[in-house]
């Protein structure tokens, strides 16, 4: 059956699309085009001397070992944030879906972190884990663990992952909860009558029915960990120790806005753009096939 609606007019669809196209053009295509142009240039901070350098900015990046290391860092960080963020949120949503008493309170508390700005999140976590005055550092010390994210790269990575996951759990939780409530109760009851235990019911009924939500969240969380986490990193580790927590997007921010090196920063954002486009295509091509709508 053909579901498409056909317009007879040739101009009407364009007029209706215009506001959307305008917004996409101004806020996506124009800046992306600027980044592409600037990545081929070298300019001083004031833009008064601009020289075309071809692919020099990219060549410098490939020659920089620390840039290559940042790919690995970003990958580890994104996978950890996405996997942990999704699984913890799912667990919480499943529990929230079951309780009857005080459900609103429970949900509200879980959604709260979403209202906290990323910089504040970063500050909160870095205070709790501060090597001098951190309360968690103090507890860990009593357990015999010497916490020092200033010098230990693994500790630093753990810190930014925790902060980023904490910030994103609310969002994931909301979507999972909505997904769970929309699953017809009759399906679950039928399975229960057939003798399926809670774990089996979750595994064979709820989870497959949640897969569109999970897939959507997977894409959103990947993008979140790639792009929206630099404020958290800036407030906690600033990419240190060494460059152990300098993800790709943090470097774009640092080299461009702190270092005023616009050419390199633009080249890095082009690389990042290509990566995210590729990742999204892969996700839609391969993972989406396993999703039941």
């Amino acid at each position: 059956m053909e579901k498409r609606v056909l317009f007879r007019s040739t101009w009407l669809p364009w007029v209706l699309l215009a506001p959307q196209l305008f917004i996409v053009g101004v806020f996506f295509f124009w800046p992306a085009g600027q980044a592409l142009v600037q990545s081929l240039q070298q300019q001083d901070a004031f833009g008064s001397s601009v020289t075309w350098v071809g692919f020099d900015n990219f060549r410098t990046l490939w020659a920089d070992e620390t840039y290559m290391a940042s790919f690995k860092t970003t990958l580890i960080f994104s996978v950890l944030v996405t996997v942990l963020g999704l699984s913890i949120a799912l667990l919480l949503a499943v529990f929230a879906d079951r309780i009857t008493k005080g459900a609103t309170f429970y949900k509200t508390v879980l959604i709260l972190p979403y209202a906290v700005a990323p910089v504040v999140t970063g500050l909160l976590w870095s205070l709790m884990f501060s090597t001098s005055v951190g309360i968690v550092t103090y507890w860990l010390k009593r357990l015999g663990i010497q916490w020092n994210h200033l010098l230990n790269g693994d500790h630093a990575m753990a810190l930014i992952v925790m902060a980023s996951v904490w910030k994103q759990i609310s969002y994931n939780f909301l979507f999972f909860l909505a997904g769970l409530t929309s699953i017809p109760k009759s399906l679950i009851e039928a399975a229960a009558i057939d003798g399926a235990r809670p774990w089996r019911r979750f595994w064979t009924i709820q989870l497959p029915l949640l897969s569109p939500t999970a897939f959507f969240l997977l894409v959103i969380n990947m993008v979140y960990s790639f792009f929206d986490t630099f404020a958290i990193i800036d407030a906690t580790t600033q990419g240190g120790p060494g460059k152990d927590t300098a993800t790709l997007v943090y470097r774009v921010y640092f080299d461009g806005f702190r270092g005023m090196d616009f050419g390199s920063s633009a080249a890095q954002s082009v690389v990042l753009m290509v990566m995210v486009i590729a990742l999204t295509i892969i996700q839609f091509k391969f993972i989406e096939k396993k999703v039941n709508y």
Partner: protein, 433 residues
């Protein structure tokens, strides 16, 4: 309240147009108590005459206000005056046609302006190779040594005697550690204090071409035997728990004010906040040095910021800027600012005025920073002027962290830092040809 404000703004707008005052926009990075200071300076100037009105606006931290100023310039509406931190000096200086040298502004407006009244280490930092002063020194600080007198007493040390050399720091740190100190020594501003200031204090080259003052083709040289020796020393202290790394930039200060760390290298501009936060007796002293190095101690390097004037403004604006700068250069104003904020007095006259007022006798230690600076500078100690300096500092934070983590030797870290930094310098040179 809102209505009242609106009414006020309305009235202000009217009275302005009536008097035809020229408004001078001043973007700065002074927050908290320092914001009040800046606002008071503008108010004082505005009430002293009627032709001009200086409007100070807080634009975020140093790097943010520089970014904002540059973005505004690119968009064609730069402020008249922009406060730029010392590491941004080269960026501003080599910008073609974006700025108007202060010496020129003053000369065209017919204002008296004598660069020689400034403390040499301050003025030298902001002067072009041809001797022209490019920006007006505003708030300058330097690196000094602080120690916890109570902790010294508790460890059986003489609280009135600060260590003056690095070997003394090591032996005192060992005594503090032996009596239970968790953190005998730490430093903030690793690069500014332990590389830049360390170099000028020992009259040793930081970069070629007189630390970059001689031109854009300067390259880093801070992997000399003396630098390696210092970082090996710090590395050993770190291994023995005598030096504890507490993070980048100014972050380590809380570990001193909380009483955790007994000795601390930090900015002289932190004096006021340490006085406010520390629940113990402390003292300020000169930076330690290696006594066997000829020429040490020389002078330390400045931090802080200066005021830059953007080009392309109407003549009236420049006259106003000149009048305002003239007001700021008054020794009385400078001395008052020095006593209020803890920043350096900037001119020798202001230093003398403050001395005569008996301020240093009442607040012992506040003259340490001045004494470290008020010396005749050498080619190697005048300052550091390099492009991409913000990133070079970040690189050195990263590399030195590898020493404390035990992943690299001091020599390796400094060599790698020089190599990575030089790539950035070559890039800056190419971009600013």
């Amino acid at each position: 309240m809102k209505l009242k404000l609106a009414a006020l703004a309305f009235a202000a707008a009217f009275s302005l147009s009536a008097q035809a005052q020229t408004e001078i926009q001043w973007w700065h990075s002074m927050d908290g108590a320092l914001n009040d200071w800046v606002t008071d300076l503008a108010k004082q100037f505005n009430t002293s005459q009627t032709a001009y009105k200086v409007i100070p606006t807080y634009k975020g931290e140093y790097d943010q206000s520089v970014a904002a100023g540059i973005a505004a310039f690119r968009a064609g509406n730069a402020p008249d005056i922009l406060q730029v931190f010392e590491v941004g000096t080269a960026t501003m200086m080599y910008s073609k046609g974006a700025i108007k040298p202060v010496a020129e502004v003053m000369k065209e407006a017919g204002a008296k302006f004598d660069p020689s009244v400034y403390i040499p280490a301050v003025a030298g930092y902001y002067t072009a190779p041809n001797g022209q002063m490019l920006s007006l020194p505003f708030n300058s600080s330097t690196t000094v040594f602080y120690y916890n007198k109570d902790a010294f007493k508790a460890a059986g040390l003489d609280p009135e005697k600060a260590p003056t050399t690095w070997p003394e720091v090591v032996s005192i740190a060992a005594k503090l550690k032996a009596t239970g100190s968790q953190c005998p020594f730490t430093t903030s501003w690793m690069t500014w204090a332990q590389l830049e200031s360390f170099s000028t204090w020992h009259n040793t080259s930081y970069a070629s071409k007189n630390n970059g003052f001689g031109g854009l083709d300067a390259r880093l040289e801070f992997n000399s035997p003396l630098h390696v020796r210092h970082f090996e020393n710090l590395g050993n202290m770190s291994k023995q728990g005598l030096f504890v790394y507490k993070g980048r930039a100014s972050k380590p200060i809380s570990s001193f004010t909380s009483g955790e760390c007994a000795m601390f290298v930090g900015s002289s501009g932190s004096y006021a906040s340490i006085t406010r936060d520390a629940k113990f007796k402390f003292a300020e002293s000169t930076l330690p040095y290696y006594p066997d190095v000829p020429g040490a101690p020389q002078n330390t390097i400045i931090g802080g910021a200066s005021l830059w004037v953007f080009s392309g403004k109407p003549v009236e604006h420049y006259k106003g800027v000149a009048a305002f700068f003239n007001f700021l250069s008054d020794p009385k104003v400078q001395s008052a600012s020095h006593m209020r904020t803890g920043y350096l007095p900037i001119t020798t006259a202001a230093f003398k005025l403050t001395d005569e007022s008996g301020f240093y006798k009442k607040n012992p230690g506040t003259d340490v920073a001045v004494n470290q600076m008020i010396r005749k500078t050498t080619e190697k100690s005048r300052g550091v002027r390099l492009g991409n300096f913000v990133q070079i500092r970040a690189i050195m934070d990263e590399e030195t962290e590898q020493i404390w983590a035990g992943k690299k030797t001091a020599k390796q870290a400094l060599d790698d830092g020089v190599k990575r930094g030089n790539e950035l310098l070559a890039k800056f040179q190419a971009a600013n040809k």
